[in-house]
Symmetry: C4
Subunit: 189 residues, 4 copies
Amino acid sequence: MGTGRLEAFSDGVIAVIITIMVLELKPPEQPTFAALLPLWPTALSYAVSYLFIAIVWLNHHHLLRFAEYPTPRLIWINFAHLFMVSLVPFSTAWVARTRLAAVPVFVYATVFVLVELAYVPFERHALAQAKGKEISPRTRRFATVRALVALGTFVIAMLVSLKLPLWGFGLTCCAVLLYLRPEPPGTGR
Amino acid sequence: MGTGRLEAFSDGVIAVIITIMVLELKPPEQPTFAALLPLWPTALSYAVSYLFIAIVWLNHHHLLRFAEYPTPRLIWINFAHLFMVSLVPFSTAWVARTRLAAVPVFVYATVFVLVELAYVPFERHALAQAKGKEISPRTRRFATVRALVALGTFVIAMLVSLKLPLWGFGLTCCAVLLYLRPEPPGTGR
Amino acid sequence: MGTGRLEAFSDGVIAVIITIMVLELKPPEQPTFAALLPLWPTALSYAVSYLFIAIVWLNHHHLLRFAEYPTPRLIWINFAHLFMVSLVPFSTAWVARTRLAAVPVFVYATVFVLVELAYVPFERHALAQAKGKEISPRTRRFATVRALVALGTFVIAMLVSLKLPLWGFGLTCCAVLLYLRPEPPGTGR
Amino acid sequence: MGTGRLEAFSDGVIAVIITIMVLELKPPEQPTFAALLPLWPTALSYAVSYLFIAIVWLNHHHLLRFAEYPTPRLIWINFAHLFMVSLVPFSTAWVARTRLAAVPVFVYATVFVLVELAYVPFERHALAQAKGKEISPRTRRFATVRALVALGTFVIAMLVSLKLPLWGFGLTCCAVLLYLRPEPPGTGR
């Protein structure tokens, strides 16, 4: 009775979410390069959100290695996490259609605040199940500090985006990139 | 020859169903907070139905642990169960678009009556395969009583919703929440 | 190096196909029972096609138990089989929208001829990998006869549907139902 | 800690991509054979792209057998590969709607250049993990030569398609077909 099915279900949901977004990328009517140009905000935001959901999966995959048993609590935190992630295609499409307008970027950053708020207890719960020796205190400290920094940056990005949406979007990207490597720097492999 | 593929297929179907619903949440044209407001019935019903399908998965996951062999009967009951669940996005979208009108809420409750009607034999069949000692008589009694109470509540919700749709919707929610924990209260993890 | 990934991929494709069809079932504008009525051809054809794809999965699941190694040939036949199955939502939607008109029912039956034409070598190849004793000559004979009867019925259904679409649709249903139980009658479980 | 989840996730993404394309195939309004005719470019390009993504999966499945551990690098190359593959439905739809016009075919070939550019490091990295004896030098040389030939052909197809789109499309097909069998010719199963 391992976490196999929890992983398989989460993989299914994340796979559908990541590919649903590409449906927004509709081919233009005219067969010209000029007709492709207006697609750039959609293409850019698809690429960015794809990267973000890839990072979500990478960390999910990394953390679930430590969990040994799918406790009800882990299942529910996971559902909350996936729910927040499922809002990414919506906010991505809005940002793309309005070409990075203030309110949509604010909502985009808000969704990542929510994703992070669900991710923090997920990380905590998964690491709590790991045997002591597997995870060094340094790694635990790194996880806590990173979560606080990311959360803070997402909240600042929300506020900034109302005045300077491009800067808010950039800040959101920076905070997500903190999770590019699940482990602390200098860890083997 | 375990139930691995039955689980994997069911996970795939439920993952697609749960993420299809978010497609109803279409970003507004205007980049303003005011433009977000009319989305609240869609957002609310998405959140509620997401929770319900999460509960369906949780119980499905819990029950299939007891089944050891995918008998044709279990496979067919499972297909019937998934069919009923696949109607949830349809009824959710109707409830959202008509902002909780009487007939759509009636249909919403009806879909849950059907989900429950397929779930009862599924639960019976899965528990029947479990070895006697694993499942206490108390747990079996709890399952029967809960199924009857839930079914009764869904039917009452159907009738009530024709006059008082908001109450009907609330009753449906209450009945679903009976399944928030698969096991009887007081059972150790 | 078993057939695990071949199964997982096929499960994914079939899960998406079976749930894509429900997207055709769009909630009506009006919140009345009368507004539900015009949906019956869509609802009926969804139910029928769901049943058919469930039968496809059941037989796929049954057969792959015998295959021990995913030979290139098995993989390609499987892809051809899934391709034909992926046309079912298209023909289902056409039958539903035209309310069982002659040509769409003809196409619907044709798709099942194609599904069957890809299923026959799939069955042959999977059974060929099974060890002799596992599969009795009676079972092999049953498989051959059933395939011929089903194929013949699908072709007759094609021709009939051009004059009598309802009869053609009924014949298609009968032929599919031959696969309701993967094993020959009288076989233990 | 094998590559199981990486495979499962990739299977999910490829399964969704391959079935999303069939959504482009919309049933006509009229229930006549004549109404089916204008669908041929969509149907043809669906069949071709289905074949191509099947080939992508076949090679992905073949290569991941050699990888023993999901290194961060392998995961990221895999995400890049899947991203490029996820653009195939977009370019397929554009080619179909414009009936093989010059610029869409150019974009179609470009997407395959990108798929190949992500596939080459994926192949390298997966084979690097395989133990020396499993993979002969001949197989490694074959992989390198094939990758170069395919890449060259895709680039030529891009250039050709601007003047002669049909030839460009044909060249793209030829290059993809180089991967029809993952192993070098003459290799025993």
